[in-house]
């Protein structure tokens, strides 16, 4: 078998081997049971003490969300000002300028929201201070926010009837001390010892073999790249993200980075089952998500390994597959694998340029982000999936004529309304956003912005439309990858995507936590013969069908105008 395929199979198997025990460990950590990392308790107690937090205070779901939003708003304000004034602050050895207000608005929302859409380039757009004290900081805390929100949601289903959902600060801090920070240290060290820079040295300059003067951007990148993947953030230290040889020096580091962005979302699903003592349910969810992953992954790999038909016509050899925008050390298979992972999981880091992938690959990438619930981002993935579950419970309930129930709690009008609104939010933001962009592109081509609308698109025709659709979809999914040909650093895209990222982050956290809180407070109904079982294969299939039908109905027209149209024109 060819080594490119064995490489991705090995990567996936290693991911499972790490993620499953990690999930069991997380369930124990958040349930407060004994684990081997308890030696970190004194550190946590010190953090609580210095912050004036009493973790014995129990919060209901509203208080949890208030705490979550308060600290997130604080980070927005803090980061915004650092970004604008970074040129006046220390640790800026390359003398990079401060950000414009609209770029700072976009960037700070993007990083607070765990999205990491970047309209700047790491080498020239930010200082070392910004990279570490704002961006990397937010990569830790935004991932921890997602995980803490998921644990609150777990809590609601652990006991029969409860309004006491634990302490937000405790979950949040533990997500960092017991999970993100230790793993980041390991991954950062692996990267550093494989060639990724980790020091604070400024830009270097050398004369190349042929006599060209070359400037080399460096800096503390390994620390950043570790959490960028573990926290499913995805923002690159350098412009080319994980395609850059410093960010991702070898096939080994590529495997490490691909594994590190996948383990926590997988582990959270397992943790859910162990935490609420319903392992079978977790495995069912895990099964649906994995089937979903493969449904997107296999055609992506086929499409990339097939190469570009237009280049095939020129008569060259594409023995390993399409190579535009890809790196030789990874090859098309590992790049295709990564592109599916990063869109399914909302990391949004890339090890090859998505804009240059084949039309159908673009289709699967877009669809993965539109669904946004096959594993999904740190913590928020399972929350997104929960919305699909509630809709599936409701529809199944209607089909068999029973009051819908989930884990012993009646699902009633209020919960369904919330779930329906959250379900509608994504298509609304994605389609309306793309429509506005297309309108501006066609009718206000000469608007006097930093990048005029007529110069937005790097590619003509259907592919150009895909660039806009991708940008908006990626924002809503809090993914952060892009068809990077799009000229996006101007007030229109900065504001539009900033607003979409914000809504696409916080409403899908508030919704599921609210539903869980409401359900958890209801009277517990013991399971009977009449209960609709949610951990069976039938129900799993039902959920998968709901996911596919909802998304197909919402997005088929948009996908037909972009990647599908491009695919069919290339067949000619």
């Amino acid at each position: 078998m060819n080594t490119e395929l064995t490489g991705i199979i090995a990567t996936f198997l290693l991911t499972l081997v790490i993620a499953i025990p990690l999930g069991k460990y997380l369930a124990k950590v958040f349930a407060g049971e004994k684990v081997w990392t308890d030696f970190l308790k004194p550190l946590e107690n010190l953090i609580y003490k210095l912050s004036g937090i009493n973790i014995k205070v129990q919060m209901d779901w509203k208080q949890q969300l208030k705490a979550l939003l308060a600290i997130n708003v604080l980070w927005l304000v803090y980061g915004f000002f650092v970004l604008i004034f970074q040129n006046h602050l220390p640790l800026n050895p390359d003398g990079n300028p401060g950000m414009t207000p609209d770029l700072a608005f976009n960037t700070i929302i993007s990083f607070v929201a765990n999205c990491n859409l970047q309209h700047y380039s790491g080498e020239s757009g930010v200082s070392y201070l910004t990279q570490q004290f704002v961006l990397m900081f937010l990569q830790f805390v935004s991932a921890a926010t997602g995980i803490a929100a998921a644990v609150v949601f777990f809590k609601a289903f652990r006991d029969k009837t409860t309004t006491q959902l634990g302490n937000f600060w405790e979950f949040f801090v533990k997500a960092i001390t017991r999970l993100l920070l230790p793993l980041s240290v390991i991954v950062a060290l692996i990267l550093t010892f494989n060639g990724t820079p980790a020091s604070y040295d400024a830009k270097d300059q050398f004369i190349s073999v042929q006599g060209d003067t070359v400037n080399v951007s460096r800096g503390p990148a390994a620390q950043f790249i570790a959490i960028k993947h573990l926290g499913t953030n995805g923002g690159g230290y350098f412009g080319a993200n994980s395609a850059h040889p410093f960010e991702n020096p070898s096939y080994l580091t590529n495997m490490v980075e691909a594994i590190s962005q996948t383990i926590i979302p997988l582990a959270m699903v397992i943790a859910f089952g162990y935490f609420i003592r319903r392992r079978k349910l977790a495995w069912t969810i895990f099964g649906v998500m994995t089937i979903g992953l493969f449904m997107l992954l296999i055609p992506t790999i086929t499409s990339e390994l097939g190469g570009n038909p237009a280049l095939a016509k020129m008569g060259i050899s594409q023995a390993t597959g399409a190579m535009e925008g890809k790196e030789v050390r990874f090859g098309p298979a590992a790049t295709a694998y990564w592109s599916t992972l990063t869109t399914v999981i909302s990391t949004g880091s890339v090890n090859g340029m998505h804009d240059s992938t084949m039309p159908l690959t673009g289709l699967w990438q877009l669809l993965a982000m539109m669904i946004n619930g096959f594993y999904g981002g740190c913590g928020v993935g399972i929350l997104n999936y929960f919305i699909y579950l509630i809709i599936a419970v409701f529809i199944s309930g209607l089909m068999v004529g029973r009051t819908p129930e989930f884990l012993g709690h009646k699902v009633e009008a209020r919960e369904i309304k919330i779930a329906a609104l959250i379900t509608l939010l994504s298509p609304f933001l994605i389609l309306a956003g793309t429509a506005i962009a297309s309108y501006v592109f066609t009718n206000h081509a000469d608007a006097a912005w930093a990048v005029q609308p007529k110069a937005w698109l790097n590619n003509p025709g259907f592919h150009g439309f895909s660039e806009m659709l991708y940008e908006v979809t990626s924002s809503n999914a809090n993914n952060g990858s892009g068809f990077e040909g799009l000229g996006d650093n101007n007030v229109f895209w900065n504001v539009l995507t900033g607003v979409i990222i914000f809504l696409g982050r916080f409403l899908p956290i508030i919704g599921p936590v609210a539903i869980a809180g409401l359900l958890g407070a209801k009277k517990f109904i013991p399971e009977s013969a009449g209960t609709l079982k949610t951990d069976t294969k039938t129900f799993a299939l039902m959920t998968l069908a709901v996911i596919l039908v909802l998304n197909a109905l919402s997005y088929f027209p948009a996908l037909a105008l972009g990647p599908l149209a491009e695919y069919f024109t290339m067949l000619k």
């Binding site: 080594t3 064995t6 953090i47 210095l50 912050s51 004036g52 600290i71 604080l74 080498e123 020239s124 570490q132 990397m136 805390v141 801090v173 920070l181 950062a188 010892f193 060639g195 980790a198 020091s199 040295d201 270097d204 050398f206 004369i207 190349s208 073999v209 060209d212 070359v214 400037n215 951007s217 503390p220 390994a222 620390q223 080319a240 395609a243 850059h244 040889p245 096939y251 570009n308 237009a310 280049l311 060259i316 050899s317 023995a319 399409a322 535009e324 925008g325 890809k326 030789v328 050390r329 090859g331 790049t335 804009d355 039309p359 590619n459 025709g461 592919h463 040909g485 491009e566 290339m570």
Partner: protein
């Protein structure tokens, strides 16, 4: 809301110390024991830095093995791919002209022998590697320009070929900079 704001501020400050000072500085210190002291491994010749082991650089002279096309001309302070879509007509013209250039400088080369990586831009614009096939098709040209035997060049290519990880995972590739330096040192 005040109940949440004050702890938020204090917690943020504490975490900044932990995550933005203690964590990255510890890694940077550990990095001093890595190749290149954690600032990128340099390649030097006669005491001068002539490149970074991981970063590709531009080679255009016939006596050197060429690397992949780069959208940013190997600018290591502004990495990027071309972001050209697969059906873009301008892009396809560009690929065609790269094919023509290769055919011109490598007489006897057949189109069907040209691997895709030699005519497509890399994702980073800094790809240090080419495929084995990409090196093979240049052997005759390099040997002829340097007046050395093809066998000798072939051996150097083999020496600078990076095998799949543990022989099992991922593609093999050839590091262009190291190969060219080996040629210069002959």
């Amino acid at each position: 809301m005040k109940k949440y704001i004050i702890p938020s501020i204090r917690l943020t400050l504490v975490l900044i110390v932990l995550l933005c000072i203690i964590y990255p500085i510890s890694i940077a210190l550990a990095g001093r024991f890595s190749k290149g002291n954690g600032a990128g491994e340099k390649i030097t010749k006669n005491g001068k830095t002539i490149g970074y082991a991981l970063l590709g650089q531009s080679f255009t002279k016939p006596a050197y093995f060429w690397g992949r096309p780069s959208a940013v001309n190997y600018n290591a302070a502004g990495s990027a791919g071309s972001n050209k879509g697969p059906s873009n007509p301008d892009y396809l013209k560009e690929v065609q002209s790269r094919i023509d250039t290769l055919l011109k400088y490598n007489p006897g080369l057949k189109k069907s022998e040209i691997p895709a990586d030699m005519v497509t831009a890399s994702g980073s614009g800094l790809d240090p590697n080419i495929s084995e096939q990409g090196a093979t098709i240049q052997i005759a040209r390099v040997a002829k320009t340097r007046h050395i035997s093809e066998q000798k060049v072939k051996e150097l290519v083999a020496l600078n070929t990076i095998k799949p990880l543990m022989g099992l995972f991922g593609p093999s590739s050839v590091n262009v900079l190291k190969l060219n330096l080996a040629l210069d040192n002959l």
